[in-house]
Symmetry: C2
Subunit: 409 residues, 2 copies
């Protein structure tokens, strides 16, 4: 189904088991799982020692650089389970004018369906296919639903997607175009999630909500793996991550641990900054209050739909990673994120999505507060293409039959 050399033939796999992220309770691999008994996300565990012996780092470095170059560190057993749409390594693009000399945007909008959600969903759909799932449902703020639809369609799996009724129009339409049945719901993403959960309890479908199945986190983990390889196995000083459900932040943190166990990186870690909007900042509130869990944020609102997540099931994992790293959770005002988005395009030619703009605003805030130094290498995650979001109309008109002085154009 795909051309990369990483998808020609099976490769050795090293999954040993899954475990509850809260209690450490052990679960069997190669079986369908949702949350743990304790109602928490399951984490996939590997025999890292055997993996390290089987896969020298230079072998990995000789492979095509796409997501599937990491197969030994991923849960899929059989190549035939994988449906690929071309999961390329995303570039690191400097934004010297609107950011700083060492500020790099990891442009995740280059992935299939235009967002980082492709990483999680390509993995989760492959595992669903491997484990015999035939019907999936999911709540989404947009991009996750689009990625699910594309991959599930390709895998021959039926999908039902529920989204808040003010989800960006383009997202709703692309989800349907790619073969899912889409319903707009008069509520936020967690309310859509409750309906998905109800249907799953009735046996109607498998629940693909963020972190409610164990494999999206493994796909998102590749952001951390890829970043390490791209930067020559030296992690940046800081990572700014737009945080809704937080799968990517949790996934990167797990990736760094696995890379250290392999001996491919040392014990240094970037400061992890969980970026939220001031209109929906449950993680920031919990971080500042010193809490381990985050309460639901009422009346959530922000133009950055992807981080409008009032309640995250992996809240304690996000908070733990942020704190262990010496980073912070940062809330940015709407005006600051919109200004950052506009300036990145206008000054550096890089059209960020609003969530990506939020990370630039947060980086600016972190520099202002002295949480990071302006010259330190920082990576901002632009989680989706800026083309999915509305832009202002700044064009003029010109009458070809009645031209003005062209010097004034």
């Amino acid at each position: 189904m795909a051309l990369t050399a990483n998808l020609i033939g099976d490769r050795q796999t090293f999954v040993t088991h899954l475990e509850c992220s809260l209690t450490g309770e052990r679960y069997e691999a190669d079986r369908l799982h949702g949350l743990s008994q304790a109602g928490r996300p399951l984490l996939v565990r590997y025999d890292i020692e055997a993996l390290g012996k089987a896969l020298p780092r230079d072998v990995l470095e000789g492979r095509p650089t796409d997501l599937w170059s990491w197969r030994e560190l991923l849960p899929v057993r059989h190549t035939g389970s994988i449906v690929s749409l071309g999961e390329i390594e995303t570039p690191l693009v400097p934004i010297p004018a609107s950011g700083g000399a060492n500020v790099l945007v990891k442009d995740e909008g280059r992935l299939p369906t235009g967002s980082f959600k492709a990483r999680g969903l390509v993995m989760a759909v492959a595992m669903a296919k491997e484990l015999g799932v035939t019907r999936i449902a999911m709540p989404t703020n947009g991009n996750a639903g689009a990625a699910l639809a594309a991959y599930a369609t390709r895998a021959g799996i039926e999908t039902v997607v529920l989204c808040p009724d003010d989800t960006p129009e383009i997202n709703v339409r692309e989800i349907a175009a790619q073969g899912a049945r889409v319903h707009r719901v008069n509520g936020l993403i967690d309310e859509c999630g409750a309906i998905v959960g109800k249907g799953a309890a009735e046996g109607l479908w498998f629940d693909f909500s963020t972190l409610k199945e164990p494999y999206r986190i493994e796909g998102k983990k590749t952001m951390g793996l890829e970043l390490a390889a791209q930067l020559g196995w030296r992690l940046p000083k800081a990572i700014f991550y737009p945080t809704g459900g937080g799968t990517g932040l949790i996934g990167m943190w797990k990736a760094f641990d696995e890379l250290e166990q392999l001996g491919w990186i040392g014990s240094e870690r970037p400061k992890m900054f969980a970026v939220q909007a001031s209109g929906c900042a449950p993680i920031v509130r919990a971080f500042e209050a010193g809490e381990e869990h985050a309460e639901r944020w009422e009346n959530a609102h922000t133009v950055a739909a992807g981080i409008r997540v009032p309640k995250a099931v992996g809240d304690f994992l996000i908070l733990r990673a942020v704190r262990e790293s010496g980073g912070r959770a940062i809330a940015v005002e709407e005006e600051a994120l919109q200004r950052a988005t506009a300036e990145s395009a206008l000054q550096d030619g890089v059209l960020l999505c609003p969530e990506g703009g939020a990370t630039l605003a947060a980086w600016r805030e972190a520099v202002a507060q002295g949480w990071v130094e302006a010259g330190e290498k920082a990576v901002l995650f632009n989680c989706a293409t800026g083309l999915k979001y509305p832009l202002p109309d700044r064009s003029a008109t010109l009458d070809k039959d009645n031209l003005p002085d062209l010097a004034r154009l």
Copy 2:
């Protein structure tokens, strides 16, 4: 300005001169040029023999795979001239359900600003910077203007962009967001071009119209270079290319010649299919009439804005390449291109742009007519992300306070 190893330090360059594509008249390299004296595009020539000695193929294969891995085959002399936004190698994505087992989509929507125009403009802007240009104007149907704006902004070059007043809204807005001054004109792209030409004659700006400066073609050439490398130096049997100005088709044809001179590929060539819409098919009309040049197409119309080009300055180069290759120019009906676009998304999870959909429709027609065999390897160029184009709304609504039987979703 960028992280790829291909942009660390200068590399040897091999440009010897430029020549008129019609008369062969010779022009000096490293000077600013527009069209030739004969009013035709200029082609860049290299010392291929010296290049072959300096750059063994395995050295090239060891480099990061982005566009700048081809630097010895490109015109830019100095690394400092390059403004990069992350010009990654675009993936080849199979579409087995809507196309066939050997039909691959080259997904150019993954490039900066979401289209293949980035290839031409990153090169042309680098050369403009190298040669001291400070102000550029360009007519566009959308994507070229967006790419120009992003790169020129980053290079510190002022830009004026003129587009037909029915250019897709998202394009007009992204061009302005990325720092260009955009004007909507009550005319088609060649009428916008005439205004740009008038301003250039008045000395107001440098004219960046398709093929009117010599370097966009060198950037687009990388589509052919990249394709050859990705397919293990064996070209596909057929290439379907959405053809407006035709720079990419001309560029690929040039690339294949240069690769053969290097001894990296043999003399076999793909059949080149120039794909147009039946509402704007000047190249098809000229092809079928056995003409060397194509007359302007009056009352041009098609939803595929990128190929709504009534008159191409490189018409004879397109026609020559198509004929030499044993390919054809094919016009597809609106309904066929829209059906192909819809089916690729719905059946394969690949959201093509309308111009990309046109190539799938043309491939289907070519199979039906026996011009290609269904099982032969064919590459379709999806020139831009499908996310830039309007999609139908196929969503339903759901009331969270009054849920229906979920089994019916």
